[in-house]
Subunit: 203 residues, 4 copies
């Protein structure tokens, strides 16, 4: 395999990129001047150097001037410590943060729990989450915030089962994001589950 | 205009049908045997004869053996009279009915309230709705059930404004379908409004 | 089945229409005033009365004032009798006619020859075509004009096989539409067959 | 701008990539292990080192063991020297090469001629092409091979005008890729230009 093919293979791993577009990326880079490629390579290497994973919430963050091992949210007391939102991945967290409707802390679970899996999944940070809950003072509410897919739904139920006892003993409420009509939902074409939730949660 | 062109024009009025597909429909009918066309024409005429608009909820219904002017829902006491769901159109009603999660009565508003319109819109059945609320005994809750579009949202607010006083005087609750994540919503790509509602309505 | 369901079933047979859109058509008709439905039903019936199938080319045409059994193209001497274009269906003919780049006569085959079929297909008008070729004086060229799909390609080859001997004996040329790049073809994404044809037919 | 934002900006320049997907690429890289990023950066740098632009056809090629400045096609006598195909870009060349229906040499023009541009465009390699034609012995045919877009069509005409005199003086034929139906073309939905070409190039 020459470098064109190798690079194509790498780009094919990028989310949402197939063979054809991976190849186009390589041709694009070949036609660009060398400066562009050098910058790009440098930025990719810098990303790993300048990015650290927060020891508190497992989110990736820009180290910048920061000396600590914790991200700008975890180390900033203006974010409400009494609330902890559990999300699947960094991009979910960014999406909620950008909305400015939530001002609490976060915890990145690192994945969803597959429906078929029987044993406690090792791929999510369940133990880290339990430790965090135990050690966090002032925590009053845990918000489970997963996408409304079969796996997201399953993860929601799984975590409820895993956390209920612990949360109750610490008098922490466990809630899930509300369900119902979302922007753009047309009643005519809604699935039964959405109609059920919209009715149940009417107000 | 010959009959091909005239019929094409008619089919172009069908929802979601453009010039090209309207023409295909005409060619399709030309190639079908005469029986098919006769049946189709008869069914279209029958529809108007066999369908009546319910005097209670303004839904279209199949007359069938029914002697009354009211549809099978309005005349059936197994549907809960204490609840009244306000929908925009027949197909919304069918969608909710099919879900089997709602067992109350309905009222078809006949449209949504455009955002720009200042005067009380004559295109929706506001007076008919008010009359119905006044005359309906045992009514305990009105559920506003509109699609989550700018117009649906506006209609929701408009009706709340129009009905609050009347409803309060009659001790009737006015609610709206719940909002939040709907089936398929991915947190990463959610708009701010959906995130706000999902957070507000968490439980 | 009531008339709503029956009419939905009928609309589902329309080209490109599924269950959901068929239902929307029915609701659309229910909400329209009775005049609209009556007009539509009348036009559908009129179509069959006012449309006849040409005895010469098997195209559907508007009878209008015409007393004859032949369409306006077949009975009009301004269309070049020395050329005969064989098309699959009426809408293909209309498309070529509208382009104004062809001024000869047409013959509607009534279908394509499925690839798997072994026996002479009864579904296309092969005998009628052969009769027409034999009886038509002044015919100099037959143009096979089918869509470039596997079936269209197969029909092209099949007809060449069926017509060659007859055409040669009458000194009639048999040609097929040219192949190569069509409007919008991007070289980068072209399939091998298109590249082959574009190269072979370069000029 | 931190490194996340900078890298997002870079990925946004990739062909077909918008803000959202650029961001996903960055998150994808953050979550991957450091090895992956190092490999990717190395491959991007290697690409520029291992890739050279052919002095003959301006195509990018893998240097590999090759000492020369010419690519594997230009330096291989098994490719027919009597034919020269002019393409817009490397990916068009790869597409034709992969089809195995052409065995001649290539020339990468480096772009298309915009329709509105009056002055001789400096962005395409017109002078280099003319020099090549003058110096190439045994050249018998130049094939213009551009996508069938308005710009591709314009470039075809522009080059014909620029090359005709030179080509005639050297007795070199100038041809263009054939036009007509391409794979998947449906006669019913064809534009007039495609029908015209298909008719003109019938055979």
């Amino acid at each position: 395999m020459d470098s064109i093919e190798k690079l194509t293979e790498h780009f094919k791993e990028f989310p949402g990129i197939g063979e054809r577009q991976a190849k186009r990326f390589v041709y694009f880079l070949m036609a660009k001047n060398p400066n562009y490629s050098e910058n790009l390579a440098k930025l990719i290497l810098d990303l790993k150097k300048e990015i650290s994973q927060c020891k508190e919430c497992f989110r990736f963050f820009n180290i910048g001037m920061r000396k600590e091992n914790t991200c700008d949210i975890c180390s900033d007391s203006r974010f409400d410590e009494s609330m902890l939102m559990i999300v699947e991945k960094d991009s979910d967290l960014e999406s909620v943060k950008k909305s400015r409707f939530y001002n609490g802390k976060y915890f990145v679970l690192g994945g969803l729990v597959p429906i078929v899996e029987k044993s406690t999944p090792s791929r999510i940070r369940l133990n880290e989450l339990k430790d965090k809950i135990k050690n966090k003072k002032n925590l009053k509410e845990i918000i489970l915030a997963f996408s409304l897919s079969p796996q997201g739904d399953h993860t929601d139920m799984y975590l409820k089962g895993q956390l209920t006892e612990l949360a109750e003993s610490l008098k922490i409420k466990v809630s899930s994001l509300g369900r119902g009509l979302s922007t753009g939902t047309e009643l005519e074409y809604s699935d039964n589950e959405t109609i059920k939730n919209a009715l149940k949660n009417r107000q």
